[in-house]
Subunit: 184 residues, 2 copies
Amino acid sequence: MNKQADWRDRLDSALKGNRRDAYSRYLQLATVGLDGAPRCRTLVFRGFLEESNTLLAITDGRSQKVEEIARDNRAQVHWYFARSREQFRMETRVTMADLGRQGNLIADVWSRLSEAARDQFFWHPPGEPLESGETLSPTESPPNTFRLMLMEPQKVDYLWLGKRHQRVISVSSGDMWEETQVNP
Amino acid sequence: MNKQADWRDRLDSALKGNRRDAYSRYLQLATVGLDGAPRCRTLVFRGFLEESNTLLAITDGRSQKVEEIARDNRAQVHWYFARSREQFRMETRVTMADLGRQGNLIADVWSRLSEAARDQFFWHPPGEPLESGETLSPTESPPNTFRLMLMEPQKVDYLWLGKRHQRVISVSSGDMWEETQVNP
């Protein structure tokens, strides 16, 4: 692997510096809705794909965002670290992990989920009128509602709201990243 | 004014219950970029327009989001309250306050800003390569880079990640709001 990108160093250090706050692992994913209007929701960061800058998150295959990403897989990851006052805005391309090629990775992420997190995948379809009937019984292996999302950054806009604001834009070109300091 | 919308009661109570966290007044605004891809950034909530559910925020007239909103003023306000584990996702229409009709409101919001917040409007153009030269001197009255954004909710998707998750969707129809409980 090449030298790690500078933005990734900053992100690793933000994750470390803010780790006392459980919510520092919550990021926002913005997509374009089927009506062409923007959508945004909070997701839990589930780590990086090994030896890469690709971020992992999970979602329910029945959720609206899966349909949105199928139509246009450009998504912005937004991450604000309250304690260190740092904002990361990443233009990403999102793909869903493939059960054939990435079954082990899917199973690994599934196995590390809490029971409560797993249970959600056996509930009634999200977003539909509230149903109170029995839900399915949880299984040991990932159910077919489970999706692992791979979010690959193409461009990162970093803002540090320190005493003197700083802003750096990093753009991917092949395996390299080009950085430009810009006015905050 | 009609009876306050139930989602607004929930939002007021989230603001109250999370007020110890300064960052509980930070929300995210998602827009569609000029390239058709989604964009998202953190903004500071500056209160409600009097006797309405319209949210206020400020921005720099030279920022990218102003151009994006001029082209498509549909924006999603995302707000996550870490302490109470509540997420509000609002489909809004954004307008910029008009200096002719709303000059007093603009001046009022400006007058309540901290010195540091005001200074930003006199900096070099945001997003352009870093310039180190002298910036303009701050003025008492709002400079012409200052914009007050009015974000009017049309639909609110509320999610409470309590012991038992709850989700309610509220849709505006005229002066009324219709609520539906949906599967989380």
